[in-house]
Amino acid sequence: MSATQDIKPADTVGIGREASEKQSRKEAARSDALGFDPSAPLLEVEDLHVEFRTREGVAHAINGASFSLSEGETLGILGESGSGKSVTAQAIMGILDSPPAFVTGGQVRLRGVDLLTLPEESRRLVRADRVAMVFQDALSSLNPVFTVGHQLAEPFRIHRGYSKQEARKEAASLLDLVGIPAASGRVHDYPHQFSGGMRQRVMIAMALALDPDVLIADEPTTALDVTVQAQIMKLLADLQAERNMGLILITHDMGVVADVADKICVMYAGRIVERADVHSTYGNPAHPYTKALLESIPRVDLKGQQLATIEGLPPNLTRLPDGCSFEPRCSWARERCRVDDPPLYDVGAGRQSACHYYEEVLGS
């Protein structure tokens, strides 16, 4: 460590931006030099295409997804397994396994800079510093052979050039921030010594370490009990409000999204089929798939009756139908849907729906 400046007293070493701005001691890798424009929109994903080249053929995992996210906003991405929600997140983060995955088109603009055109070294700088991610399975995302403190300190040492001691101190205050009791004592513990909820808190702490502008949470609470889920969602919401982060929440749980999201993208077979604010999506869905999803949730007034189901299966992504991908399972489908893939129609008030017959769906 070639620290030339005086070491600050411990109590003034804060977390987040203030602290990081004071850091110039070591030539640490920073993402600032990449030309981010503070006045540009926070995150814009435009016409993203991702395919997986496999032995069985080319799976079109994402076929033209577009959305945007601003500061302090929560975007919920809803969809079933295989709909492309996680792949979207991984494409934004730049952590797709390639091969087999290839981004074949589109842009992911963070503050005006298209991340997809950046070389890998620059993308590394963006990760954690600007865009961070929380994964579903905290146990397999944490390294079992290093202490939690070590893993939490890593971003500070790599991205900020902190000394071991300083980074360790930051790690402890991060654990404290995410509500882990007796945090300074627990930095020396290993992941297996934490409960599921506590591990997810550690993951969140790690993601927030460098105060990112965008946080992507991929099914952050799916593996947790409802009581712990409520704790984690509250923690995420509090931290987001405090730091004015943009939050992308990926989940298949319609309830979680309804509780926290401002706007929603519904994905099906690699496409966004409906995009709207949360109240319109739940109050009056504009796409048959969204409508069917909402109807398949057990409700009190339907007790004793059959649940509405969506018959059939999502299409094989290697052989997408010519027309609308949802056509084979759709109760509104007509001849036109089989041949003519619907674009995202503007259906008013900033909402879009990829259905030829959205007017009928809306009115039903």
Partner: protein, 352 residues
């Protein structure tokens, strides 16, 4: 109908269900914690199930809810006779399982079957569907003569909505929902009277989940099955269950019918659990009673004194540490609730 611990035939009749098929009294399952390699010494017990009593009637569905580690799964395995209870009584269709010989257990067990949570892990990837669904016949050869088995398996596949021609396929050739149907067909093979459903839809997508729930309800009617439905998704449990038992750290803290538990919960834990369930209606955001519990479930090896929930309870007072509340009806609650301060609180509707 407030005292399941002393259920009478009248109560069963009034609930619209048939005779009692499972009757559990003070069931206890403690797992020893041992130390030492050569000379093993028991240094404590994990009290996974610690004094549970309930009844299940023919054609009825009992939902069991609670956080992970509360003993739901141990309880379901005790009922199946897969794990012997440490003490208490588990009566299955008139046979007492506690203390029964393994040979006799095997015969009794054919009446209780189980559907597991993860359809990817609970089916042997190297067996064909025919082999999986027909395996119960191999274990109980008197049930179906060898020549009959293929036909019986195909019949079962049809019952659960699978194509009988797919009998020679392997599990990986099916989707998650279809695999769960294979698991259900296997559970149905021996025409059991009771099926334990251990989180049967948790691993499935919403749209597929609805298909499986519908199937389970149809089968219940068709074969007059009794279900013990263990799950953590409270909305699914509400949809399918007649009665619901809420478990915490090895004990039932509240038990009642679906309306009592969901509309008039009286135990603080039930209330916290219900309030934590996100409701798919953004209009309710911020208008519901929110009880966010702090901390995690304490270790069942060393449960808190008195009321086990007191360490996380928002109502806890001194008496809770000293005296364990019994599971009885009190002034504040119609259904049995194990809380000194049981009082109704609406947590699922907009109240603010």
């Amino acid at each position: 109908m407030t005292e399941p611990a002393h259920a009478t035939p009248d109560r069963a009749a009034s609930a619209g269900h048939g005779e009692m098929v499972v009757s559990v009294r003070d069931a206890v399952k403690h797992f020893p914690i041992t130390q030492g390699i050569v000379f093993q010494k028991t240094i404590g017990h994990v009290r996974a199930v610690d004094g549970v009593s309930f009844d299940l009637h023919r054609g009825e569905t009992l939902g069991v809810v609670g956080e992970s580690g509360c003993g739901k799964s141990t309880l379901s395995r005790v009922i199946m006779g897969l794990i012997p209870a440490s003490s208490g009584s588990v009566n299955l269709l008139g046979d007492e399982l506690v203390g029964m010989r393994e040979r006799d257990l095997r015969k009794v067990r054919r009446n209780v079957q189980i559907i597991f949570q993860d359809p990817y892990a609970s089916l042997d990837p190297r067996m064909t569907v025919g082999g999986i669904v027909g395996e119960p016949f191999r274990i109980h050869p008197d049930f179906a003569p060898r020549g009959d088995r293929r036909g019986k398996v195909q019949e079962l596949l049809e019952v659960v909505g699978l194509n009988p021609e797919h009998i020679n396929r392997y599990p990986h050739q099916f989707s998650g929902g279809q695999r769960q149907r294979i698991g259900i067909a296997r559970a149905l093979a021996l025409r059991p009277q009771i099926i334990v459903c251990d989180e049967p839809v948790s691993a499935l997508d919403v749209s597929v989940q609805a298909q499986v729930v519908n199937l389970l309800e149809r089968l219940q009617e068709e074969f007059d099955l009794s279900y013990i439905f263990v799950a953590h998704d409270l909305s699914v449990v509400r949809h399918i269950s007649d009665r619901i038992a809420v478990m915490y750290l090895g004990k039932i803290v509240e038990i009642g019918d679906e309306t009592q538990i969901y509309e008039h919960p009286t135990h603080p834990y039930t209330q916290a659990l219900l309030s934590a369930v996100p409701v798919p209606d953004p209009a309710l955001r911020g208008h519901r009673e929110q009880i966010v519990l702090t901390g995690d479930v304490p270790s069942p090896a060393n449960p808190p004194s008195g009321c086990r929930f007191r360490t996380r309870c928002f109502k806890a007072q001194d008496i809770c540490a000293e005296e364990e509340p019994a599971l009885v009806s009190r002034d504040g609650s119609v259904q049995p609730s194990a809380c000194h301060f049981a009082k109704e609180l609406d947590v699922i509707h907009a109240t603010r």
